[in-house]
Symmetry: C2
Subunit: 382 residues, 2 copies
């Protein structure tokens, strides 16, 4: 498998996780690198996010991640520790500290054990080698059950993306982290515009449980080593890789057994389609209906109805379908209901809604709500 040129990396166990890597740093130390990044909008954003957000997000060369401890709600000490981790990790890959994005995921309200972390990172000096993206995807995992990596090519360049995030961590906090690395040459301004459009249609379109992490981070780094590429094709390939990662995140959602894809069309505009899609994919009643393989279109109608300010939504013009088979407003037979129940018991379920207003459309992704989610998140005591 090809991979983007120019990136070096190190993964290691610093002693936070038992028997698995909890540290990953990757960067392109040479050449003219561009980057783009978006962060959680949480008012309780962690020290890593605050530090990274204060940097020039178009001038990152790479990212350092600590998993198992989110460094959130840790005050001035937490901020100083994030800065120190960044300084140490920058040494490992040979970049300046402010060129490294810092991300963390794990338990919140607990300080980094710097007496353990500092010597452990110092031992990694001089060990940087060609980046191993599978190892990086594994090192940033918390309750994820599979490492998430996707690679696409565009012209002579390669895009590799990694992601983690399944709902909760340790089990304390949901965090979604995703990074893309490419050797395509893309200006910082183009990279930012393309990345934001892709994120809006992928990461911002997925919801496991409506809860938003204090540490969410999405970033892309372009080393430029493969030279210029067609920008539209680059965006298409980046979108394709991001969508594949998003589907892996939703499928791996805590306790999830089914990926749910909700496609809304015929909306006033794309934004309305997204609101309707989110209302459906986030509804506990829709999520449990899918889990129960119950073709209960009434719950979808209910979820649409919740958007009471959208007065142009008229129940008389709404159409609802499962996997392309319309179920409202048509009268469906018992046989068809049985078929739809079989369809809903699959690993991936598509729900289509046509609002019959105009041509706005948006697709969102989520998962069913199961006893497994309750077990993971409740059957734990501090």
């Amino acid at each position: 498998m090809s991979q983007p040129a120019g990136f070096v990396g190190v993964t290691a166990n610093l002693g936070l996780k038992e028997g698995a890597d909890d540290f990953a740093v990757v960067a392109a130390p040479a050449g003219s690198v561009t980057s783009a990044a978006v962060f959680t909008r949480s008012r309780f954003a962690g020290a890593s996010v605050l530090l990274s957000r204060a940097s020039d997000v178009s001038a990152f060369r790479g990212v350092v991640t600590i998993s198992k401890n989110a460094n959130v709600a840790t005050g001035a000490t937490g901020e100083a520790n994030a800065r120190e981790v960044r300084r140490l990790a920058a040494e490992v890959v040979g970049v300046r500290p402010e060129e490294l994005l810092v991300a963390s995921t794990g338990v919140i309200g607990v300080q980094y054990p710097m007496e353990v972390i500092t010597p452990a990172i110092e031992k990694l000096y001089g060990t940087a080698a060609e980046a191993d993206f599978e190892a990086i995807a594994t090192a940033i995992m918390t309750t994820d059950t599979i490492a998430k990596v996707e690679t696409r090519t565009v012209g002579g360049a390669t895009i590799t993306g990694v992601a983690k995030g399944v709902g909760m961590i340790e089990p304390d906090m949901a965090t979604m982290l995703t990074y893309f690395f490419t050797d395509a040459e893309v200006s910082a301004a183009d990279l930012d515009a393309v990345f934001r459009r892709v994120v809006d249609r992928t990461y911002n379109a997925v919801s496991i449980d409506t809860d938003t992490s204090t540490s969410d981070t999405a970033a892309i780094f372009a080393s430029g080593e493969a030279g210029p590429v067609d920008l539209a094709e680059f965006e298409a390939q980046l979108y394709d890789a991001a969508l594949a990662l998003v589907k892996k995140i939703a499928s791996d959602g805590e306790g999830a057994s089914t990926l749910i894809e909700v496609s809304v069309s015929g909306a006033r505009d794309d934004a309305q389609a997204k609101r309707v899609g989110k209302a459906i994919v986030n509804s506990p009643l829709v999520k449990t209906a899918v889990h129960g393989a119950d073709p209960n279109w009434g719950r979808i109608a209910m979820a649409i109805g919740k958007l009471h300010d959208e007065t142009d939504i008229d129940p008389e013009r709404v159409r609802i379908a499962f996997g392309g088979t319309e179920i409202y407003p048509v009268q469906v037979s018992e046989d068809l209901l049985a078929d739809l129940s079989t369809y809903l018991s699959g690993d991936e379920v598509s729900i289509e809604v046509d609002l019959g207003i105009a041509s706005g459309e948006f697709t969102v992704y989520g998962c069913d709500l199961t006893e497994g989610y309750i077990r993971i998140n409740a059957d734990y005591t501090t």
Copy 2:
């Protein structure tokens, strides 16, 4: 127990439920009756809601309820059926059809079996007697496990309220229905103003699962037979009865084992306090933490952080407590965590948040999220 004078009623089994009443009509046929009512804002509101909302909501004398069939998404036939049920029920209690509010709850997308309903209601002509509010509260139940009735007195007058609603029905759709009956003499304008204020602080402050029914209805009927009362005292007693019913609804939430009360203070204004309270009480991670008796304040911080547009919320000024015991930002001992875990395993849990901004405050009510909720809502196939 005293009860409001002037109300007659009938409850019966029309043949929709097996072995339990599914029909209730209650009204004050004589005198100068005033009323107030609020309905679901769902874009998929049912035929009963549409018919009632189109009436003069200050001139109702009573209400007819059918439980087991919500008459939602039933088109023109559904509207005609709602009108016919109203006409028949009005005959039973001796009022004009347009003086009767119509409410329904149950399965959606299914027409009323009028060939069964019509003769069954006609058999009730002439049977109206003094209203039995316990029987009415029972007849409007669906998956509720207890009948919900609360009575308060104000001067020489009485207020009796009934409510139903635990998250889902049949199990198809959440519906909250609540009615208050009083013999106090209150003008329609005063009744409307008082009722809206009370509903905003009680019914609009409760959330079982964020899903909103197509049939929610709250109404109050004042027969005037006990004469005028002190309006402030009336409002206080009405609020007290409504709050008691709301707590019963939350405690009886589908699969719920714990009532959660979230009190937010120190907000910019009451509206901000309500948004913060709702974000907390609706968070699946907070709900499962309470279910697991886990004093995990990080999840509460996360839920507050989700309100990213509320830029005046500063983590440095936020304080979080369980049952009056502060847990953030203070450092808590292992002993205290154990005590808080014991506290969280009780039937009622209070979470207090002080935003440290100004003096806005609001309290919201909800319940924990359990395997029971999943079972009730998923383990069912059409």
